[in-house]
Structure formats: structure tokens, C-alpha cells
């Protein structure tokens, strides 16, 4: 009982810090509201889908950024897809960086794209790590 209470507190704290640190926005709450007894793992399932989808896109964008000259239309197209998926799970920082990247594409600014992509990858990895830890604690609670 006490362990469960501890886990519950830990979970609440982990969840709150994701919002406080700007990693997640209200869209994540919408996902939580769609979870019920008939769909008990909905949030984790959607997040897992997102990471499967987005990992592929990150690799694609990385390869596209290695080409010379840069094809800004293609880069924008890939990032549009990535942004859509990130927005759907409420990945606030990553979504903002995706928007910035697309603005650099529009401006034909390759250096801006590269710098923003590095930031995006960092925040993407951070959120992924934190969410995986969060779901791990959730699993421990049973």
C-alpha cells in the first residue's frame, strides 16, 4: 500500500515536471482523457506509435541534411509530417522547434535548419527518455 502511494506520488511528480519544463502541452491531457477501462494503455500506445513514426522521420531528415545543395521543399515536407505527429502527442518543445525549422526552410537558411534540428533532436530524446521512465513507473503500479 505504502509502496503504491510512493509510486503514485512519484508518477504525479514526473508528470507535472513534464508540463512545468515545457515538454508537454494540453494535447497530452486530451490523450489521457481518452484512456479508459476499455482502452487502458491508450496513451502509451499512441506515444509508442509516435516514436516509431518519428524515429524514421528523424533518420530521413538527417540524410536529407547531408545532401548538397539542400532540398528545402523536401526538408519542409518531412518536417511537416514530423510536426504533425509531435503535435498529436502534445510534444510542445519539439513542436516549436519543428515550426522554427520549417521557417528556416521557407527562408532557404541551411545553417538555421541544421542548428534547429540539433536542438530538436536533443529535446526529442529528452522527452522520449522521460516518457519511457514515466510509463515504466506506471507499469510498476500495475
Amino acid at each position: 500500500m505504502e509502496r503504491n502511494q510512493q509510486l503514485r506520488r512519484q508518477l504525479a511528480s514526473m508528470r507535472q515536471s513534464l508540463f512545468d519544463q515545457g515538454h508537454l502541452d494540453e494535447q497530452f491531457i486530451l490523450l489521457e482523457e481518452l484512456q479508459d477501462d476499455a482502452n487502458p494503455n491508450f496513451v502509451e500506445e499512441v506515444v509508442t506509435l509516435h516514436y516509431r513514426d518519428s524515429a524514421r522521420l528523424i533518420t530521413t531528415i538527417e540524410r536529407a541534411l547531408e545532401k548538397s545543395p539542400l532540398d528545402f521543399n523536401k526538408l519542409d515536407g518531412y518536417m511537416h509530417q514530423f510536426k504533425g505527429s509531435s503535435t498529436s502527442i502534445g510534444a510542445k518543445k519539439v513542436k516549436a522547434e519543428s515550426t522554427q525549422f520549417r521557417e528556416y526552410c521557407e527562408a532557404g537558411n541551411g545553417e538555421g535548419c541544421l542548428k534547429t534540428f540539433q536542438l530538436l533532436k536533443r529535446d526529442y530524446a529528452t522527452l522520449r527518455r522521460k516518457l519511457e521512465a514515466y510509463f515504466q513507473v506506471l507499469l510498476c503500479m500495475g
Partner: protein, 145 residues
Amino acid sequence: MGGSMKAPEKEILGTKMNHRHRPKITALVVDDNMVVRAIHHRLLQDLGIENQVAVNGKEAVDVHSSGQYFDLILMDMDMPVMNGIEATRKLRAMGIRSTIAGISSRSLEREKQEFMEAGLDDYHEKPLTADKIVSILHKISNHSG
């Protein structure tokens, strides 16, 4: 952003949709993004709306060519093979009179206008929420009287 539907609203919607003389509303989610499809499918399911998914505009057209009909089509704009604008035009040309709502992350007025002119009944920016779906559904119930 978003906000969940309150319980009384869901109840009213459920009553409208499950009325003995009114069949349940059916919907088709058309989006190339698997995460978006999963969320929209669940949103509709939560509202008691039977729904299927299609991964692009061509699949949406093909499913109608096979004889299926949906009260509501949630149509993404940017999709490979056939985008939402082309799919909407094709569906209207086929005589499909379903309520078609464009659901897109595009925010420019001219982009929205082009999509509307293809034959949409409504347009909403992503992310889709229960409140937005309810406002679209009110259009269906208004059309059917």
C-alpha cells in the same frame, strides 16, 4: 486548447445518435499519419461513432467506390498518392453528399479556402478535439433535420 466534452453534452449526443429511429453515425478518418489516425479513431469511438480509417485520399475514394457510405468524413489535406483537396473533389464528383470536414495543420487563409472550395462542409485546424467534432456533428444533425 481542446478541452474535453462535458458529460451532459456527451449524453445529448448519445441520445441523438442512438435514437431508435435514427441509425448510429458512421465516420471515415482519412489521414496518412498513423498517430493522428489512432487519436481521431479513438476520439470518434469515445463519442459512440463507428468509424474506419483510410491512409490517403485514394483509399478514401476507393472505399466509397466499393459502395460504402459514411455520414462524416474527416479529411486531412496533405497526404501522399492523393491529397485531401483532390479526394474531396473526386468524392463530390462521385455524388457523395456526406459531411466532409477538412482537418489540417495548415493555417493560411488561402490554403483553407482552396480546401473549402474543393467541397468541404467544414474545416478545423489540428489538433482535433471532442468539442470540434461535436460542432461538426451539429452540422450533420442540422442537415438531416
